[in-house]
Symmetry: C2
Subunit: 716 residues, 2 copies
């Protein structure tokens, strides 16, 4: 008798038979609707828990038409225009997608406009420019010839971006959906009563699935199809702005923000780059508001005896599930869509919600990532599902969640029976893993790793997005490896890294390019931080730096921790300095890893051990610093071999390399030991058959695994 439950199925009206059949086959205990699908009475009354999606700020076009001033907004910067004489004209929306944005030239919006001479990097006075409403331009009357000028302005967002994306991708003909900004009391009142009515209208709904809350992640589209994506950031706050928000902010924080704080010379404030105090204040301010109003909405849901889950995507900005206030909202569950292992850990790390659910990929949709076919000719959704699952599965073996599910159009699966088979396996494996955890936690090395970033625990297990969006970020790759490794992993921000905090951990990881939130930028100007870390390493800690760790300008070394790492970066200013040669010794731990060299890295002196190098540039190094060690990797990309090397390197640096057990001799095969149930779970995360020998305390086992197989060995 197969186990069932813990599985959410996307139902689809018109395909009742298929819905019921697949629900039974996959052991679904809940059925959901999706954008573009609905559930019929036959499904609603079949005994499943019913999830109903709601995008609370969307689908209110009539209200938006009547109250246009409560639509959502953003700051935009015009293109830079070169002055060829004294008078010049800047068309504000030139280059932007005019179906997404409209100029907001209300009086209170105009007060936030700023015109910059970008040649001198100075704002120009208001009295030398004027706004021309009739054609949406700014005219500068006393420009300096051959300087470049830009205008920061407020724009209405006239098309909700998820609707826009689906609409454009699928060639929909329906009305463009707008979004309301709940900052405005009239919107709050409207949404409260709307939700009340909605709950009454949905008697079958058990779980209100919020998709997500109020503010989209930033996605600015261009007018030219060749470069549609002008700016996109899953974790920035550009789409939360309005004159009201800014007025409330200055009333609360005692100082005002201006458009340039958001525009930042046109670079905006991507979450990958360290934020200044002002932007962090603005985040807290927005988070306070979102938590407060979301709490009211959840209370309404609860008053109707329904549960409230939130989908951690699309419009998650402001709710910050890793933040201190998230629990106040009172969500009963959080749902994360996952392509990779770190996303499973991200979901699991949200401690306050009782239920954690993963929405697996592929989404049941004709096209997937980057427009490639999924449930369409040329697609291979079974392989996609299994590949994603193999990444998620190893993370679940470290830390489980409560449920999994799918989303999309169920009927699209019919021509792909192998996909249906694959989900059989996935659902079963998931329930098996969950049961193992229920009996007792898996064995883990007694080493706590601390990932040190500018975001810290607020953004645990993420670098603002999915792996495929920024595959070149070292930290996202490290997180993906760590998601399935037997280490305790915590996250800390620079501001909170006290001596006491350091005492609790064995390894500090700092990984990223200079100036990034992950390397830390100006956080490294703090001498006490350097002092504390130096002392801690001296007394036995391990500082593991990747790419451009601790880099900041102004000191004798670019890496502030160069004296610990034993390497530093040369930005060209050491072109006349000699370099120590790289004499490598893999110490038996590097295996077949591949770490890309950075040509600009040099050895500080002869005391730094080089484990691997390329073109005489060190790739992996290790340096003894009294009782501790400095470890450096010039880059990190997730591969099975690199994951194994990372584990070995950490164990080596912590003098625990000899403690390895339940580790196989094959990087593609990983073992996890559940002591309570005395079960060893062995994973083949590759698409080919693998053989491996696994050390099990006093003996070893040889296992032969099919592609992607999960195998369980009882060892008594």
């Amino acid at each position: 008798m197969k186990a069932s439950g813990c599985f959410t199925l996307p139902g689809e009206a018109g395909y009742e038979q298929l819905t019921l059949e697949l629900a039974k086959r996959w052991g679904a205990d809940a059925v959901r609707d999706c954008e573009g699908t609905s559930l019929s009475n036959e499904i609603l009354e079949a005994g499943f828990d019913i999830y109903s999606t709601i995008c609370i700020i969307r689908n209110h076009n009539e209200f938006a038409r009547k109250h246009p001033h409560v639509q959502q907004q953003t700051f935009l910067m015009s293109k830079a225009v070169l002055s060829e004489g004294e008078s010049m004209c800047i068309p504000l929306l030139d280059g932007f997608f005019d179906q997404q944005f409209a100029v907001n030239d209300d009086k209170e919006a105009l007060a936030y406009y700023q015109v910059f001479d970008r040649t001198t990097n100075q704002e120009i006075p208001r009295d030398v420019w004027e706004y021309h409403k009739e054609n949406g331009t700014v005219v500068i009357n006393h420009a300096i010839p051959w300087h470049r000028y830009t205008v920061n302005f407020l724009a209405w967002r006239i098309w909700e971006e998820i609707n826009m994306y689906n609409h454009v991708t699928n060639g929909w003909k329906s009305e463009h959906l707008r979004q309301l900004d709940p900052r405005y009391p009239e919107v709050q009142a409207f949404l409260r009563s709307y939700l009340e009515e909605w709950c009454l209208d949905h008697p079958h709904t058990d779980v209100v699935r919020f998709t997500s809350l109020f503010y989209n992640f930033v996605w600015i589209w261009g007018s030219d199809g060749k470069n549609r994506d002008l700016f996109s950031d899953w974790a920035s706050y550009d789409f939360t702005v309005s004159p009201k928000a800014l007025q409330d902010f200055s009333a609360t924080y005692g100082y005002a923000l201006c458009s340039e704080d958001f525009i930042n010379q046109g670079r905006r404030n991507p979450n990958h780059i360290t934020w200044n105090r002002k932007m962090k204040d603005y985040l807290s301010f927005t988070n306070d508001f979102v938590v407060g109003f979301a709490k009211e909405l959840v209370a309404i849901v609860h008053s109707h005896k329904k549960q409230a889950y939130v989908f951690y995507d699309d419009s998650w900005v402001g709710m910050e599930p890793g933040g201190k206030r998230f629990s106040e909202i009172g969500f009963d569950g959080i749902i994360k869509c996952v392509f990779s292992g770190f996303e499973a850990r991200l979901c699991a790390s949200v401690e306050s919600t009782p239920v954690h659910e993963l929405r697996l990929h592929p989404y049941l949709f004709p096209v997937g990532l980057g427009g490639a076919p999924t449930f369409a000719p040329g697609g291979n959704p079974a392989l996609d599902a299994t590949t994603y699952w193999s990444k998620v599965r190893r993370a679940l073996l470290r830390k489980s969640v409560d449920r999994i599910g799918l989303g999309g159009y169920l009927h699209l699966t019919t021509p792909f029976p192998d996909f249906i088979d694959a989900v059989d396996v996935i659902a079963d494996e998931f329930r098996t893993i969950k049961e193992l955890h229920a009996k007792g936690a898996p064995l883990c090395f007694s080493l706590k790793l601390l990932v040190l970033t500018d975001w810290g625990s607020l953004r645990s297990w993420t670098c603002g997005g999915h792996y495929h969006e920024h595959p070149d970020l070292d930290l996202i790759n490290i997180l993906e490896s760590l998601s399935g490794l037997p280490f305790d992993v915590e996250f800390e921000a620079f501001d909170n890294l006290t001596k006491e905090r350091l005492q609790q951990v064995a390894v500090v990881i700092n990984a990223g390019f200079a100036g990034s939130s992950y390397s830390g930028g100006d956080a490294w100007c703090n001498d006490t931080l350097v002092e504390n870390l130096t002392q801690w390493v001296h007394e036995g800690g391990v500082f593991l730096g990747v790419n451009e760790p601790s880099e900041v300008k102004g000191y004798d070394t670019l890496f502030r921790m160069a004296h610990i790492l034993g390497v530093d970066r040369d930005d060209g200013r050491r072109l006349c300095h000699g370099r120590w040669p790289c004499e490598t010794d893999g110490l038996g731990i590097v295996g077949k890893c591949s770490i890309l060299e950075k040509q600009d890295i040099y050895l500080l002196d002869e005391k730094t051990k080089v484990l691997t190098s390329n073109n005489n540039s060190p790739c992996i190094t290790c340096r003894d610093v009294n009782k501790g060690k400095g470890v450096y990797l010039s880059s990190y990309r997730v591969t099975a071999e690199n994951t194994r090397m990372l584990q070995n390197l950490i164990l080596y640096a912590c003098n625990q390399l000899h403690d390895q057990f339940f580790t196989s001799d094959n990087a593609y095969v990983e073992g996890t030991w559940f002591p309570a149930s005395k079960q060893l779970v062995v994973l083949n995360s590759s698409e080919i058959e693998q053989q491996a020998e696994i050390c099990c305390e006093n003996m070893s086992r040889i296992v032969q695994l099919k592609p992607f197989e999960m195998h369980i060995i009882q060892i008594d």
Copy 2:
């Protein structure tokens, strides 16, 4: 009857027959001695002009022993030492080659010592540290635990570096030669009388060949043979320092320099990185002194009816042959050793001396570059000589010099008859080229190119050293290509780039990595510079940027000329911004060039034409800016194909592509037209046979050239 003359031969006592035989064969009219060789009376009296080398500040060990305080000095920075408690000790010379340096702890030297807390980047007060003479250490009594400290100190240079290099390379056993600092009046008096006597002692000498003047280029050796070369810079001033120089400087300039000005956080001031005002003042100050005293020495030489030539190498620092004051010295000739074409142009560009001579490579020595065999088993000096000559020859076709010559131990050539043959050809080709120029200048495009750097004309045709020393500098590669191309090339510093200066030129080239002297660093903070260049391009100028041209932080684009170039660099802060795709069109001019991509370069918008790209990163771009153009190259390395591409790109940007004539259809074959003599010189600069078709006004010629052949066609 073969032409002869214009050739300087290294004579060698004990090999009189060989000297006379090769002198006749190669048409030598002058014979010189070299370090380690001497000329016998038989040679001295054979009717040749006699060049005698003199390294004026060396070979005075007895004087140095008696007057140790007049030896040359430099600032050094100790290794950084980590403080583990309150008291710590820093050994000053740890890591330095103790045969090269000794601590100068005279009272006036100690006044220049500075101790830095490199963790806080602050100098610590004098009263918390003390110098311990007995073991050459500095003890800090109240250090902050876990901070790193360094000491800047003065060191005597106790071994002249060229002697040190030859000594170590050849295993010499002779006494280490020291050097005197002519800053001191007693040294000046000593050297004046020494030179008087020397002239009297050398009645056969016609030319006193100074090698070079007073101060070595910087070469700091380490104690460990694995990293002997700690710092070397052919064009920095670190080895000119002394308490007296610094006292004189502050008396002259009204402000004082400190050791940290030279140490610069341990990075020193390599000539490749922009110098600040203080260092430029110090250069001028030293140049003034060197010119003044050198003029006195040359006057002594002239008073003995001898000529004074200077070898532009080794100890050239302070004389600055490209500077305004060089001509005051009154040298009769300048001699440059050459591996490459740009060095020939560098020599030719020194306008004030009547004679310009090239000392060709290979030097007649058992080993050459990087210790590879030359005149030793395994060496191929004939191929070396021909290869170097093929680079020099194309530069000489653009601008000739007066003489060529060799250096070293003549007897080493005996086992290499093919080398002797090769020099036959080289000497003849040189004399032919010189005669062609004498009849009238070669045809040149009427396009003036201006290379814009922080050094400007002070350092025309050089990036501080030989090509092989820093082959990755884009500008040195560009100079090598330009050295043989039919363009007028001038050099200008940022400070002197007026609107008027711009009117005189067609193309401005700015090529280098950010912060380098060649890109310009902070020079680009000057808004007027950006304004003037923008206007000039708008009115028809061509701005050609390479690698990280005009880059400086603080503005909306990293490249200040991004709006002209149409590309900018992303230092990671634009990770969330979309990129325009590269749609390439070679415009028929890129040929088989190979330009390495920079992954961090992005197109500003759709108006930038991409000529070549790699991995969607633009490599060569061109942008129309009204009547002018912005042209960008992501990197530049000299190859025949790249040289041809560069010529075509410049002509294209200047709308003169159709004007190409005397250009071949084969990048390895270049034609130069001498209108006065109606002779077309065709070069094959490759080591294989080449065929090419050359356009000659109304007709074309097909030529077949042997490896490295120079062929002359009379076209009447």
